[in-house]
Amino acid sequence: MGGVAVDLDGRTAVSGLFAAGECACVSVHGANRLGGNSLLEAAVYGRIVGGTASLAVLEGATTAVGAKAAEEEERIAGLLGRRDGESIVGLRRELQRNLDERLGIFRSGESMVEGIKCVTHLMERFESVGVGDHGRAYNQALVAYMELGSMLLVAEAVARAALARRESRGSHYRTDHPERDDAGFLHHSLVRAEGGRMVLGTSPVQLGGYEVRERVY
């Protein structure tokens, strides 16, 4: 149903960074994940990935994450020193409204193009947003800031993949392309950052023993 691309042991493309649960995409659910089924990825892969990550630490693996820590620390110190700027809450509300209206349950190419424009604009404004709490202990304003940054990234990735997928499948429904198109789109959409830009690619679907069928309620 989408998420950070991982292998069966929860490894991401970044060495030392693992993902499990609702943020990860092991692709056990197909194009739609039914309500209540997040437990599978949380419990089963949580355990598996926890094991993989512990082993990596025990084996003393050098990671890209460790090398980045000092840089990140510096960035946070800079953020905490930023005294003013636009409010996180206002920007987040605009993002929510935009995604709800233009990239929600029913989308169309037209609405999504507008949606992407809006996300790009919000990303520019995000650069000058202020963090309202400058303390180190339990700083929820800083958490909100970081979450908003991630939301904007994910919003753009989802929007670009959804715009390129000119069909309807699983939880993705386009009013301008209401039918499934296996010839054109029976693949995963994969978004990657290259030189500060998002690049859209695909990867093959492993169907296992299942035949692709429409889910009827």
Binding site: I88, V89, V131, G132, D133, G135, A137, Y138, N139, Q140, A141
Partner: protein, 244 residues
């Protein structure tokens, strides 16, 4: 409506009041978000699910440990009478709700407490199913009555409201407390558990079953209707029965 909040930044503590425009159905958690988003972004409180299943947002609401997400502003005054414990006897004026961090745990910031001792005691009772013998080829079946008696205790969401309301915990930091003991009892009576008797005797101590003085605050504040006092009483009766 005025929200009077007991605040702390680790070094100093103070009280601060915020005016919140009340909406129908608004909960204490909604009001806290209103303050954080509109009046003071430095206010800290723990939350996650907004739904009374995660157990993150317990705090003293007018002196009573309750879940902020599960307490409508209109019902903040409807709380049971309790036996005294730290933080219970505060003045609450008209048109205000007083919020403070749970007692018996150190404050990290504002309404956020350090839950380490609570979870250390929870882990101490080994809250993991330990069946006897090999795994069955079929399921481990139970009858409905057994499920019902277990469910009264498995409904616990580890919010620590009972722990904070317990006068014994406040006086004796070694006491396991109601949540951990209710959890231990739940495993002691589980027919699938292999070490049931051992679990019963493992807490036959003043810091275990013996510590409870049946104030019954735990049962009264539990947002999930778990009765730790009853489990403790039954555990004690079970131990007496074994000795006789």
């Amino acid at each position: 409506l005025r929200l009077r909040i007991r605040r702390s930044d680790g070094a100093r503590s103070w009280e601060q009041s915020f005016e919140v425009p009340e909406r129908p159905g608004m909960t204490v958690l909604d009001a806290l978000f209103y303050v954080q988003e509109n009046l003071d972004p430095t206010l800290a409180f723990r939350y996650s699910c907004h739904w009374a299943v995660c157990g993150s947002c317990a705090m003293l609401i007018n002196g009573v440990p309750r879940l902020a997400c599960n307490t409508p502003l209109a019902k903040a005054g409807d709380a049971p009478r309790l036996a005294p414990f730290p933080g219970y006897d505060g003045e609450v004026g008209d048109d205000e709700i007083v919020l403070s961090p749970l007692p018996s745990m150190a404050v990290i910031k504002d309404l956020v407490v350090d839950q380490t001792p609570f979870f250390r005691k929870y882990r101490a009772v080994r809250p993991v199913f330990g069946p006897d013998g090999d795994a069955p080829t079929d399921e481990r079946r139970m009858d409905r009555a057994q499920v019902g008696s277990l469910e009264r205790y498995t409904n616990c969401i580890l919010c620590a409201a009972c722990y904070a309301a317990c006068p014994v915990v406040a006086r004796s930091p070694d006491y396991l407390g109601p949540a951990a003991l209710a959890k231990l009892y739940r495993f002691a009576i589980d027919p699938r558990e292999g070490r049931g008797t051992e679990r019963l005797t493992s807490a036959d101590l003043p810091s275990g079953w013996g510590g409870c003085q049946f104030y019954t605050n735990c049962r009264k504040v539990c947002p999930k209707g778990v009765p730790p006092d009853e489990g403790i009483a039954r555990a004690r009766a079970g131990l007496r029965g074994r000795r006789e």
